[in-house]
């Protein structure tokens, strides 16, 4: 029985994230989507509650998501990793600049806890240009993001962006 953790800020979740979840769920017995606080991106647009809610709703669009769990954590990833006795951390990679930072993070996590193994999945080719911040920029200008984010959360995303504008 192998447990994988897929951490992220998911601000908001995109089809790119959902694709990684779906593929990870085929490789491991349990996948924990960990909606987490990221000190490098301290100002999330959506609240933790909203982000968790969006992930849960988006997973509803996925078939075969029985072995995917959603959780949140405020602290070091490796501490959560230990607590859950996980086997692996999962990261999606879109491009080279992603890789650079993620590679560094993977080495740090392994250094903090020798069992904290990270594996990388290449983003689906249609997702190479998809990011949460891109989605927020487009939506803030009234652009159509229906190709990028799960349809069950589009209204929530755009309405909040319009209010804040």
């Amino acid at each position: 029985m192998k447990t994988a953790i897929y951490p992220g800020s998911f601000d908001p979740i995109t089809y790119g994230h959902l694709d990684i979840m779906s593929r990870a769920a085929k490789l491991f017995d349990k996948v924990i989507v960990l909606v987490s606080y990221n000190p490098a991106k301290p100002n999330c647009f959506f609240s933790l509650e909203e982000r968790i809610e969006f992930v849960k709703r988006a997973l509803g669009e996925l078939k075969n998501s029985e072995n995917i769990e959603v959780d949140s954590h405020d602290g070091l990833l490796v501490d959560y990793f230990k607590k859950r006795e996980a086997d692996v951390i999962i990261k999606g990679l879109r491009a080279m600049s992603d890789f650079e930072a993620e590679f560094q993070m993977a080495l740090v996590n392994k250094d903090l806890f020798y069992k904290a193994e990270t594996i990388f999945l290449a983003a689906d080719v249609t997702g190479t240009f998809l990011s949460s911040s891109m989605v927020k920029q487009i939506a803030a200008f009234g652009g159509d993001v229906s190709a990028f984010v799960p349809h069950t959360i589009i209204t929530d995303i755009t309405s909040k962006l319009e209010i804040k504008k």
Copy 2:
């Protein structure tokens, strides 16, 4: 008749920007320099009015700039692209990290509007290390930026930077 849009925050315009404008003007019938709001760089140092004025003044240093127009836009680039019935978006590339982000943006724009084609021009070799933020850093410390920005705007740039300091 082909129309090209050259978008940017131009905060402030540098000789690197001017070089791209001049080269684009030889390739297309009309080049629109679009001074735009960039959600990824929300805090411009110079006001929109100043940035437009600087671009206009700098274009005065350029010969054969008759087919270059200056405009501004607050919204999605593709919306402006549609309105002007443009043919192509122009981007200057200095280095690899530029390329990564610009490549992503080009794919998004094409996804938002299938006719929104982007072409890239390589920065002139003397401009590979030239950026608006570098110019602001150097000027803020009283360094000489005359090799980097059009001479007709140097006084305005340095005086404002000194005031803000």
Copy 3:
């Protein structure tokens, strides 16, 4: 009237190349596909005649290809550029390593002839992993390359690869 040159070894032409040709043909009055000898890749698998023939046949799959011409050249690109009084060189970019080499080549060409301007087009998202050498590798192992190369040339490509094997 603007003339663009799209040089390459086209060994063999792929749908990625065809996409660039089609997009370039919308931006410029005339596009010359230049099947050329590349000293950095001296050993083409297909002969010059075959490569030209494949490009011509593939262009038959394209609508609106009236302003696309096919030619070949053995010598410096800038010499051909001068002879044809061209305005611009076109290059497709798939990824960062492409960019590095192409950027260098663009600067060299401009240095050899100051009018030899190069513009870059980002490969279509489905073409980011598509290259002539990848096609040859897959075909050499009997893999299916019908998603990658124009269907009018598939038989020729695979039959020749099988003979050589």
Copy 4:
């Protein structure tokens, strides 16, 4: 029960490869080390038999290698993947240039067979500068490679390199 394939030319196997094998063996029920012919590196220094033998001997240095199998294949990786009903392909990444090519290969493999999922593991920090070709270069000049390759194969490697020199 999840099966992973770790393909490579292993010419020769290094401690970097061994580290990936060991870590993969903890994540999946079975790991198949696939010593394969690589059309992009056609001229292996060691014969297929030697490379397989070296991998087997090196695995002897590893504890907990019961679930690691060694095999070879001449053909498309995805064909072998299908035959073995595998779940995932494993690749070690040392650096960015690795990533670029491996990312492309992963997308191609997925395109050829939609189930052919690839995951990437970051090379151990001490292995970021370790490659089979580096080992051959150093050994060819009589340098000490004992820190880079399993000790059970050092004599074979250096003796063959000296003969060929």
Copy 5:
């Protein structure tokens, strides 16, 4: 007699910085560690006084640090370079994204003052994933940073981070 300047914000100093200082001290007659204000990272976590104090204390852990001096400067690096009649600027490189920005900075400094030569030293392999911001992130979550920062300053670092949290 050659003088090298090693500039940085050192917020806080890490073993990676200390390694560069130690290696630079073997190559040049005098090494000036310049704790400086960086307009690109305006909000240092530790005060200038603390950062200088930390560097000095860390140098105490180093043998053969007689030719290393600590100083601070608020202004253009090249102005300090001229004042001290230095010969070279030293930069440590961890990875590619470092290189990009540092390369640009080196060209700018040379442009501002033709004698302002920069040399780069590759970070020790164990330091490729070590950065001041990583240290702050880990410490902020109560993680163990003793492998990353000189032991004489750990208490100061963690206590301040806890207060601010």
Copy 6:
């Protein structure tokens, strides 16, 4: 007294190499230009004798080259480094792909001999697109390389390239 080694195949020497030599000569008491055999580029176009002769002739164009010596070596760089009791290896960097390979080589050399320190100098901005292979390609097509290689060797370079063609 500090001794630096500047190794390379110099096939042939370019103004980019000469620029690095000149700048290194200002930083160290002695600079040894080491024309070496590179197993990764086994087929030099010019013979070892020619390459050494070209370097010597090019140094004649440089003022203040008294502390620059030319030598050759067939073997591990670190062995030569030890023999000459050198202090540092010098490498010029043009771009990111250079950096990747050179960074790896620097770590290997340090691993083979802990004193074998490498420093990197950024190529002059006009040399970022300059390489020996580019020079050979252009000259092979009869292009003008006078801006790229020392004028005292141009005739020898072009005449040999024409003969081989």
